[in-house]
Amino acid sequence: MSAASAAKPYFEEGRRGFLGWVTSTDHKRIAILYLVSMVTFFLVAVALGVLMRIEQLTMGQTIMKPTTYNALFTLHGVIMIFLFVLPGLPAVFGNFFLPILIGARDVAFPRLNLLSWYFFLAGALIAVASLFTGGGPPDTGWTFYVPYSVKTGTNVTLAVFGAFVLGFSSILTGLNFVTTIHRLRAPGMTWFRMPLFPWSLYATGWVQILATPIVGITLVLLILERLFHVGIFDPAIGGDPVLYQHLFWIYSHPAVYIMILPAMGAISEIIPTFAHRAIFGYGAIAMSSMAIAGLGSLVWAHHMFTSGLSDFSVLVFSLLTFLVAVPSAIKVFNWVATLYRGSIELTAAMLYALSFIFLFCIGGLTGLFNGALAVNVHIHDTYFIVGHFHYVMFGGTGFAFFAALHYWFPKMTGRTFSERFAKISWAPLFFGFNVLYFGMLVLGAQGMPRRYYDHLPQFHTGHVVITVGSWFLSLGVLMMFGNLLYAAFRGGRAEANPWGGVTLEWTLPSPPPAENFETVPTITAPPYQFNPESAP
């Protein structure tokens, strides 16, 4: 250990400065590149969301015109989905910790890993360029439904091309992780001795590899349709708009699981550490990830129940949708059971992780309403759906990202942050979140359609309430990131193992040196051995 602690931190190894950062193939440096770019995009998209909420503060025009509003919800969705939620946990925490958790010195293809970040940045810049060129920012919603996306004069072509480029980043990252897990596990690190975060990344990696090409091809077809009118999607020239919806959701529903699986994996690391005991149901959690990845690939048409599908397809897709809820429920039960007879420290990271369970439950449970056919007809395309997926993606993936950020922050930066301030920021964040998104569930059940610039008088009170909620929420977000940003530069020195964790990253100094392990460890037991002697 003394030799390891004498080693230089990873970010002082090799070339320094800006060039050092953007040319390094160290998985940890690439993770930091992703972290900085993603948090920036996230804050921009939060700001867009707050502007939309302010517009809804009064009926009629408040601060913007409908064209602006339609551009805002499109951008908010595109940025949040493609630049934060989808790549977030794998690209940041997967890159940083996957190799360490399985006892490897880097990912299988370090240069490909850096290329993935370049694809990510290029895709993002192309999407940004679409705002200022051609017909201006796209106004179709992030789903780019045809034929509107073919007919609109806004710059859909470039924005869609940006999403296409981002797809390569995702595919290559998935490929890299799957290969890393197959080939680079430390001696003795059998599949069932892997911690659960790598398991979730493994399931995610396969979905990224198999599903992302479909959306890539679909987006190219959409571009061809716009430029050359080939007649695949536009019914005016013999195309089928519902075909586009199928192709889009064949990727984009599994994408939801790309978003949530790594989040579940991170939670499965955090809870045992702060309960100071082994995770309950290791096998069930690992296998339910694989079940979610498999079943989740077969439920896409539940986004299209009102589009005129045959009654038989609707029946099958509804049934499969209810089945995919089972493995998610299993995970929740196992996490809660892990608290039983633990020795629980309610740190900031744990607080965010437990909030994840609560918010993800609401997200998952409201999904059951959507899956039930009769109810789906009523709430489809309303604020209920918007509330539901914000509970899953923000309450789920977002809160897991925050939890993981607090959990691994000392390891990544070598600094400590103010626990107290982190917990204080949680209060407005959690309160505002529930006012905003539970309010959306209520508004949707009352019949408020999504993507509406204006609203009818009966929805007005609800809109005012949730707009106020959005202010608390964004205040909490700013406080939380402000605390961590301050800590990154001014925080105290972090210990190697501040939380008493037992996975491999805690055996390394904080921050870890380049190439992680001086000698690659040999693994002799299953993970999460907190109190081996007390096991029944």
Partner: protein, 317 residues
């Protein structure tokens, strides 16, 4: 949402909704309470010596089996009621609905064309949807009825309105700049009044219900109407001096006879309060012949403002 249901479908949808709401609320309370209880009871202070309990086969089986059974019951309940929504009675009246950017129009079996839907209470109706441009969504929240309106295919839904009244129709699929103004109303009236209306020349809904909905006509103020004209960009397309821009000039417009195109058919109208209100609310519904259906409504006018505009128009002789 549990009040205001006004069709045979709404009771069924609400029943499934409540069933799932009850089960999921119970689940959420149980999980949350358990979590808080464990965090307090097994805190580091109270329980410094944790136990590594790694799994319990029967627990795993139980909490897989029970949710599975409950989920399947939700699926079944959702499906049977959906099945009802897909089984049209033979005597349902068929109304063809066209959704276009950004207005709804309705065509009845006898050829009557309207921009608001008028239905007889307790009489089943089947709506058949087409779109000439992009995808729209037809939604009557009070009836719990929704159907995507997809160009190139004819989708349908059916229901039986059960309570008299006036209900909102909304578009639910983003279709462009005036998506949130692609609204209409459905008027549910007694059978006799429906028949009288149906066999008359009127395209406006029966008067009583329309006024009941808005609480009677509002008094307009021409001066405020002039402010609306200037402030809501009306002046971009409509002049006050008789010159032709994108839309008809407002000079001498009130009370004149015009030929308009409704749902592809020409018909004469007198420019009166109702016509003006409708032109503002649903600009694509009746377009004056010779003008493009170009009016966009980025500026919602409330009922008072519409009345003011009408009063202002009356002064422009």
């Amino acid at each position: 949402m549990f009040f205001g249901g006004a069709s045979d479908v709404s009771g069924r949808v609400d029943a499934v909704f409540l069933y799932i709401a009850a089960l999921t609320a119970a689940f959420l309370v149980f999980i949350t309470a358990l979590m808080i209880y464990f965090v307090v009871k097994y805190s580091r202070k109270r329980n410094p010596n944790p136990a590594d309990i790694r799994s319990h086969a029967w627990l795993e089986v139980t909490w897989t089996a029970i949710p599975l059974v409950l989920f399947l019951s939700m699926f079944y309940y959702g499906w049977t009621n959906y099945h009802y929504m897909r089984s049209v009675p033979r005597d349902a009246m068929v109304v063809k609905v066209t959704g276009r950017q950004w207005a709804w129009s309705f065509s009845y079996p006898n050829g009557k064309g309207t921009s608001e839907l008028v239905l007889a209470v307790r009489r089943p109706v089947k709506l058949e949807f087409t779109s000439p441009d992009v995808v729209h969504g037809f939604y009557i929240p009070a009836f719990r009825v929704k159907q995507d309106v997809v160009p190139g295919q004819t989708n349908w839904t059916w229901f039986t309105p059960e309570k008299e009244g006036v209900y909102d129709i909304e578009c639910t699929v983003i279709c462009g700049v005036s998506h949130s103004y692609m609204l209409s109303k459905v008027h549910v009236v007694p059978e006799e009044r429906f028949k009288a209306w149906y066999f008359s020349d009127a395209v406006e809904p029966p008067a009583e219900t329309a006024e009941a909905a808005s609480g009677g006509p509002l008094a307009g103020d021409p001066d405020r109407g002039r402010l609306v004209y200037a402030g809501k960009a009306c002046a971009t397309c409509h002049t006050l001096d008789g010159a032709r821009l994108v839309g008809p000039s407002w000079k001498g417009l009130y009370g004149s006879r015009e030929t308009v195109v409704t749902d592809g058919k020409e018909r004469p109208v007198t420019v009166d309060d109702t016509y003006i209100a409708r032109s503002i609310r649903a600009p694509g519904a009746d377009v004056v012949k010779g003008y493009p259906p170009a009016m966009v409504l980025p500026h919602s006018l409330d009922d008072q403002e519409v009345a003011d505009v009408v009063a202002f128009l009356k002064t422009l002789k």
